[in-house]
Symmetry: C2
Subunit: 230 residues, 2 copies
DNA sequence: AAATTTAAGATTGGATCCACGTATCCATGC
DNA sequence: GCATGGATACGTGGATCCAATCTTAAATTT
């Protein structure tokens, strides 16, 4: 999905993608202390490209840095997760609105393909469903043909991803739910930009409260618990 | 506004703020080649903090870097500017919607204060009007109490700012226009979140076409014209 | 015994150094 | 005269080194 291990244009890119993937996949967990030296050793390169990768990730919000105190995988509070969903809702709503003109039969069948795969993976591995779900959203955003908008949405996904994974991992039957997505596709089919935008907003916001509740219950994620070696 | 020259926690911060201010104020212009060594010399520090500052600015989109070819002040196309306005519209719309509950008489008079200052500066320096206008928007966004949202909106302003400045600098009477803002304040006063959100969206999008037209006419800004020494 | 101070270890931030890649400029050939 | 090729100069990316700061743990004091 992300990673793309073959094409490393630079050591910094390698470090960046490695850390990003590790955070999204849960190898580095929220609150983990990321020690530049250790990461550098693991990747067999010097500390500098790692530092720059960490700086980039800090701007994107995936890690938090404090002066002279290094980088920590960002630990989001329930409020912050809510906020990210609010932002995601309007940005994905915008993307969908802009994408409506390029909706045709081929797009619709493509979308249904994603939903089918989600349903098939429903029984199996939890990560699979999540993967297909994100692919569904990413495909839709991509139709907007707005590079910056797409980047921002992807960045939000990266930030939320660790929590989604933990959630799916703990929840037994977190979904089985493709009906909401089917409804969304129905709204898209109608071709009304404003309606589609509203539907997407509602769709994104729908899942937020359950995740936030879960995070609150697991407050090992927001509480002090600190400094597990990465 | 930005800069805050006293509190430099680190050399990197100093470099970051210096370059950011220089770009926003037009000292570094779109297309300018930013040579780490030169910037470092100007600030009397080594190249490294400058490099990291440039990396941060690249993530935020203010500069563009190509591997082994250094950093260039991002030159936006008309399409890209349009996109940024589209994003700004929904994000500021969201911020205003979330801010509505905390609107009271004090806030309204504060807002009118900004508008008064805009009108007063109308005759004088162009930059002043722009400054007050941004302060007006920033104040409103701030009322949402959503740190990430506020950061993202500020980042968008920073990216667009150079072009706004050039625009205001060239245009003789680019505004004199506070009526639209007055209408926006009226909508806010009503206290209906959805209506306020819609009003903000429309307000932001209203100014986009003129700026885009201006940019297209001045296509020295989108055309090759390259490598003026910073 | 608890708390404060102090000292040692570890880690970050910054500077200098080196190697690789890119751009420029001139000479050569068509 | 213009295009092509190579040599030189410049700049970036990465590595190593050094200093300043934070963290820790121990030791002394109350």
């Amino acid at each position: 999905m992300y990673g793309d291990p073959q094409s490393y244009s630079s050591a910094q890119e390698e470090a960046y993608r490695f850390i990003l993937a590790a955070i999204r996949e849960g190898r580095y967990r929220p609150g983990d202390h990321l020690i530049a030296k250790d990461v550098a050793a693991e990747l067999q390169l010097s500390r500098m490209p790692v530092r720059e990768a960490l700086a980039r990730l800090a701007v994107e919000g995936l890690v938090t840095t404090r002066p002279n105190r290094g980088a920590v995988v960002t630990r989001l509070t329930a409020d912050e997760i809510s906020e990210l969903f609010e932002i995601r809702a309007v940005l994905e709503g915008l993307a969908l609105r802009l994408a409506i003109p390029s909706i045709d039969a081929g797009v619709i069948s493509e979308l249904n393909g994603f939903l089918d795969r989600m349903e098939q993976s429903d029984a199996g591995e939890n990560g699979q469903w999540n993967h297909h779900h994100q692919a569904f959203h990413q495909y839709l955003s991509g139709l907007s043909r707005r590079p910056t908008l797409i980047r921002q949405i992807n960045s939000l996904y990266a930030t939320i991803d660790p929590y989604l994974r933990i959630w799916f991992h703990h929840a037994e039957k977190p979904r089985g739910a493709t009906p909401p997505q089917r409804l969304l596709v129905e709204a898209i089919k109608k071709g009304d930009p404003a309606e589609a935008e509203a539907a997407m907003r509602a769709h994104v916001l729908r899942t937020a409260p359950s995740l936030v509740e879960f995070i609150k219950s697991q407050d090992g994620l927001c509480a002090p618990e600190k400094a597990r070696k990465a």
